[in-house]
């Protein structure tokens, strides 16, 4: 299935991109994160278990067990710092 991935702030800089379209079989947010970590380098570092980051699925905050469907928009970003 096709997923739209978005990256913001420090993660955008670390991954050298602000978005990508990914063909993936990941059934959940957790499985998608594992797939991205397997790329190694900054992906393994920034998305490691101990690191603090957030995932939004279709623009709502989501947890690792959230299921994925084709066309979903998944955003990964650091804790927010606006206001």
């Amino acid at each position: 299935m096709k997923l739209k991935l978005l990256y913001f702030a420090r993660l955008k800089d670390a991954f050298g991109r602000d978005h990508e379209t990914l063909e993936s079989d990941a059934a959940s947010v957790g499985a998608l994160l594992a797939e991205l970590r397997a790329r190694g380098g900054a992906w393994a570092d920034e998305l490691a278990e101990g690191r603090v980051f957030r995932v939004a699925l279709n623009q709502e905050l989501a947890t690792a067990d959230a299921g994925l469907a084709t066309g979903d928009e998944v955003a990964i970003f650091p804790p927010v710092t606006g206001g």
């Binding site: 913001f8 939004a56 970003f77 606006g82």
Partner: protein, 152 residues
């Protein structure tokens, strides 16, 4: 104009004009506003500007949800959130939150609530730019998580 307004853009705002607009309802007796300003001492000690990034789409949705939650908790006549994005120099306003109610307790509580949630829930990120051009992404503050936690 709608009594409950959310704006996310690079434009400046006129706090006095917005306060006056939210005072127009004859039921309004109290208007509280918050303005956040770029200051010199952030994570760095010589900040010259901020670069504000956000997640278009999710930003507006999360701000709308925060405003809806405030309206469920307090009897508000009107409210405004205007959050700026892009590059903002030292001393420039970043965000304006205005709440209007019959009485001051509701207006104060709702304004502080909106700010606490905006700081922890809305997808904005600040990058500090020093006078010498160095820059860094601002780290989230545990004090902000604590401030948001007291409303739960």
């Amino acid at each position: 104009m709608d009594a409950f307004t959310i704006r996310v853009d690079a434009a400046a705002f006129d706090a006095g004009q917005e306060i006056a607009r939210l005072s127009a309802d004859p039921g309004v007796g109290a208007v509280v506003s918050f303005v956040g300003v770029v200051r010199r001492h952030g994570d760095g000690d010589n900040v010259a500007a901020l670069e504000l990034e956000h997640y278009p789409g999710m930003t507006e949705k999360s701000l709308a949800a925060i405003v809806a939650e405030a309206r469920a908790r307090w009897p508000l006549s009107a409210a405004l959130i205007h959050h700026r994005v892009g590059r903002l120099a030292l001393g420039e306003p970043i965000v304006l939150v205005v709440t209007a109610s019959a009485h001051r307790a509701a207006a104060f509580a709702a304004c502080e609530f909106l700010m606490d949630f905006l700081k922890t829930q809305a997808p904005f990120w600040k990058k500090e730019i020093d006078a010498d051009g160095h820059s860094r992404w601002v780290e989230a503050k545990s004090s902000d998580e604590g401030a948001a936690g007291r409303w739960q």
